[in-house]
């Protein structure tokens, strides 16, 4: 076990290193940070000077090395744009994103799982078909469009919900949360929905597909033969047997959502990491991007570790034998 963890840890480090390497190989193609940092009138000489000071003229490898050496000390440098410690910036934005992602994933599951089970049980039912279709429309429209439409309808026309931002937030030991204030909760609704739609569709369809298989197995038949309660058969026995792929996807989705809520955050001006990141990309803010990618990589490593653990938790057949 100890061995298992340490092994995973070493692997994680490797992952991070590689991510950093690729990241740095990539930054060249994003553009020239200096142009983004100075006014248009700034002279060529000044720009070159700046470029030199930032070490942008060094080879990728050198820059990469420098970054690693710093990262090893958990220093991620100063943002070009904000002239502020990247770690601080990200720490500031992290809560917003995490709250949004978690809420939306929970939403997706809370709606998706029952829907999935239902559509599987009433395979050819009218309502089931409607669910399936509607959920599809949800995914075939781009996020930004959905977001804007929601804003237009609930924000502008009905004026029920705020159109942008996070509303009032309370700061609990450096963690800002919008979950405790009414305006914060209101502000959360639209972005969460926008973000949830895609995963919801995925969950619904996955669960449906898997349920259809499991419901035909002999052990479900035997559960029926024992006269178990229908709910127990569907959820305790059948659903549990569909979980492995679902866990996988949900895990990935959670990661993806945390990482790339970019569009949603932009549309709703949600002050999260995604927004920070997309701005960093447009302004080639290398320190932010580098640190951010590392963070994301860490997220994924952890999430996937958990997912793998869950496999074992869910399916005894996978547990170590002899």
């Amino acid at each position: 076990m100890i061995w298992f963890v340490t092994k995973r840890f070493v692997q994680a480090i490797l992952v991070l290193v590689v991510v950093a390497l690729i990241a740095f190989a990539m930054f060249r193609y994003l553009g020239d940070p200096v142009n983004m940092m100075v006014g248009i009138e700034t002279s060529i000489e000044q720009r070159d000077k700046l470029r030199e000071q930032l070490g942008l003229n060094d080879s990728v490898v050198v820059q990469f090395g420098r970054f690693l050496e710093r990262a090893a000390r958990f220093e991620f440098g100063i943002s070009y744009q904000h002239r502020k410690a990247v770690s601080a910036l990200i720490a500031q934005r992290l809560p917003a994103t995490l709250e949004l992602s978690l809420v939306s994933v929970i939403l997706a599951l809370a709606v998706g799982i029952p829907m999935g089970v239902y559509t599987a049980l009433r395979r050819d039912g009218l309502l089931a078909r409607i669910f399936m279709t509607v959920s599809l429309i949800g995914v075939s429209l781009p996020t930004f469009l959905i977001g804007i439409l929601l804003i237009l309808f609930f924000g502008v026309i009905l004026q029920w919900l705020p159109t942008f931002g996070r509303g009032e937030v309370v700061n609990i030991g450096g963690w800002t949360t919008g979950l405790l204030t009414p305006s914060g909760l209101q502000a959360l609704i639209l972005p969460a929905i926008t973000l949830a739609i895609f995963q919801m569709t995925l969950v619904v369809r996955l669960i449906r597909a898997e349920m259809l298989e499991v419901l035909r197995t002999d052990y479900i038949k035997f559960c029926r033969a024992r006269g178990l309660r229908t709910r127990s058969i569907h959820f305790r026995h059948a659903l549990k047997n569909t979980l492995v792929p679902v866990i996988t996807i949900v895990g990935l989705q959670l990661g993806t959502v945390i990482a790339f809520a970019i569009i949603t955050e932009t549309v709703f001006q949600w002050p999260g990491m995604g927004l920070l990141f997309i701005q960093a990309v447009t302004t080639v803010d290398i320190p932010i991007m580098a640190a951010y990618l590392m963070l994301i990589a860490t997220f994924f490593v952890i999430i996937n570790l958990i997912v793998d653990m869950l496999y074992f938790a869910v399916d005894p057949r996978l547990r170590v034998q002899s």
């Binding site: 197995t217 052990y219 038949k221 559960c223 029926r224 033969a225 024992r226 006269g227 026995h237 047997n241």
Partner: protein
């Protein structure tokens, strides 16, 4: 129990039941106009050819026919009122509580993700108002009653950690736990060794007698029928051909099918060179004309590469050990293991049929898996034609030998890929080992094989789930034979087969053995069959071989007391008026 103990009003009655499985390839009528009745405190035996519709009737009564199957005529009455028309909820309350069913396929009947304990407890709590802990202790008790060793630890284990027979017993426990009024037991003892079988049967008998439970016992084991049933219904091709008190049916049956069926029951007391066949056939078919191996495709000899003949044993097992962890934990001290195979050694000479009997859970299947290389033994080695397989590193090298072995799996339900057509399942080894030149030839051979195991070539187009237990078992036999192996491992090959098909298949195996020197490791708990088939037999218990002896000697003078115990428990059909002791041709 005699006819006198019978009440008048049947607790469960089936009237004119007809069950159909419509499919695009035509309509399968699994049961036609079937009438059955079982009274409280009575055991009704149902025998009949494999695929005759026995399980179907069970399912129909429970209202659990797999779609598209449905009852197209007739009715099912429980204590006088119809239940086949009941709504889902009402039916739910009846299932398990009033009518319970023991399914034929124990290995796939258990939810793989729940411990057997949880499954039992849930069932109890659903039907009887009993507290969790009480239900739990009841569960342990039940497991004990059905003869699971160390139930209090086993109760927390998952199905895959149980042996075939053990799972079957779990299934039985599950069906009994809600104290139903009627039990439909579909081949409840197929995978059980005689001692456990005896234990289970007496348990069932007790239930019936003491609690006035009515029971329908589907089986193909005439011994069991003779032992426990009050009345017998004989089915053939979805129809009831004969019905009556057990003595009468077994003693002097009216219907020719019944008669020939009984005459075909393998004899425990004497050895014949062939199994007596069932002459009664409605539609003529290939299986009857005994195939001439020398000319038949199966007979064409394959060269098995470098095989060191020279007298030595073909297969040799040395000091095999394998234990499974049943509870894994951080601290090695906390881990629990089952010593499934404990220092097992045996030799099998070329052309020999080596029998392996022993109590359920004693490690037979595990040995089979070790030999085929599915499990790595923790100690010991397997030598095939003098070559140590466990030592061989490269997969390719192992394959050269593995190719020469085939295995018939104990569980016909899970060992067939649900997504492949039967035709492809059987053809796969042929295609893979390039045993034929042309596709057409392969097809021909496959259809032929299917015929020999008693399935029409139309079976090829279907998927495994469309078949009855016995039919599936035959499919896996056909698959095993398809490679024309040199060494065949049969793990309970005929456990789900009625005597007629059994005879037919075992004869085929015998032919192969005699004509081609096919070597076999033959695992079975059916002692008569063992006696007919095997040259030497090893008796297993708790992972150890307790006695190995030539068959005849074992049956005449068993040394180890466990062997003796087994032989004593062997069910007999003394009541049957034996036809003169000559082997039917």
């Amino acid at each position: 129990m005699t006819a006198s103990t019978r009440q008048i009003t049947p607790v469960l009655e089936v009237r004119g039941l007809t069950v159909e499985f419509p499919s695009r390839r035509g309509l399968v009528t699994a049961a036609r106009d079937v009438n059955l009745a079982v009274a409280a405190g009575e055991i009704l035996g149902v025998v009949g050819e494999s695929g005759a519709g026995k399980s179907t009737i069970g399912n129909a009564v429970m209202g659990l026919l797999d779609p598209p199957g449905h009852i197209s005529a007739g009715e099912v009455l429980l204590e006088g009122e119809r239940i086949d028309t009941l709504g889902a909820q009402a039916m739910r309350r009846i299932r398990g509580r009033r009518v319970a069913m023991i399914f034929q396929d124990p290995l796939t009947s258990l939810d793989p993700l729940q411990t057997v304990g949880d499954q039992i407890v849930e069932t109890i709590v659903t039907h009887l108002d009993m507290s969790e802990p009480k239900a739990r202790s009841r569960a342990v008790e039940l497991l004990g009653q059905v003869g699971i060793p160390a139930p209090e630890t086993r109760v927390d284990q998952y199905p895959h950690q149980f042996s075939g027979g053990m799972r079957q017993r779990v299934v039985i426990a599950l069906s009994l736990c809600a104290e139903p009024d009627v039990i439909i037991a579909d081949e409840p003892t197929t995978a059980l060794d005689v001692s456990i079988q005896a234990q289970i049967l007496s348990l069932l008998r007790r239930l019936v007698r003491d609690h006035g439970v009515g029971m329908i016992l589907i089986t193909h084991d005439m011994g069991v029928i003779a032992d426990v049933t009050d009345r017998v219904t004989v089915m053939y091709r979805g129809r009831v051909v004969e019905e009556g008190p057990t003595r009468k049916i077994l003693g002097d049956p009216d219907h020719t099918y019944t008669r020939s069926l009984i005459s075909a029951v393998p004899r425990p007391d004497r050895r014949f060179d062939r199994f007596p066949l069932v002459e009664y056939i409605e539609a003529a078919s290939s299986a009857t004309r005994k195939i001439d191996i020398r000319t038949h495709w199966l007979g064409r000899v394959r060269d098995f590469g470098p095989a060191r003949e020279g007298g030595g044993p073909l297969l040799e097992a040395r000091g095999l050990r394998l234990r499974f962890s049943t509870r894994w934990s951080l601290m090695p001290s906390k881990r629990r293991y089952v010593q499934a195979v404990d220092d097992v050694a045996f030799e099998i000479a070329p052309g020999e049929v080596f029998g392996l009997v022993g109590e359920s859970g004693s490690g037979k299947s595990t040995i089979a898996r070790i030999v085929t290389g599915l499990y790595r033994p923790q100690a010991g080695s397997v030598l095939f034609a003098g070559q140590d397989l466990t030592a061989l590193g490269s997969r390719r090298a192992v394959n050269r030998y593995r190719r020469q072995m085939q295995m018939i799996f104990q569980d016909p339900f899970s060992s067939l890929n649900p997504r492949m057509r039967v035709r492809d399942i059987v053809a796969e080894p042929i295609r893979f080992h390039r045993l034929t030149e042309a596709q057409s030839e392969t097809r021909g051979i496959v259809d032929d094989l299917l015929e020999h195991v008693g399935l029409g070539e139309s079976a090829g187009k279907k998927y495994p789930h469309e078949f009855s237990g016995g039919q599936r078992q035959r499919i896996s036999i056909a698959r095993a034979l398809a490679t024309r192996p040199r060494f065949l491992i049969c793990d309970e090959p005929t456990s789900a087969l009625d005597v007629s098909i059994q005879a037919q298949i075992l004869n085929l195996l015998k032919d192969l053995q005699e004509e081609l020197g096919l070597t076999m490791l033959f695992i079975s708990h059916d002692l008569p069959v063992i006696r007919q088939m095997c040259d030497r037999v090893a008796v297993m218990r708790e992972g150890k071989i307790v006695e190995t002896a030539p068959t005849e000697r074992l049956f005449d003078t068993p040394q180890h007391e466990y062997s003796r115990h087994l032989l004593d428990l062997m069910p007999r059909l003394d009541i049957v008026k034996r036809s003169p002791d000559v082997a039917p041709a």
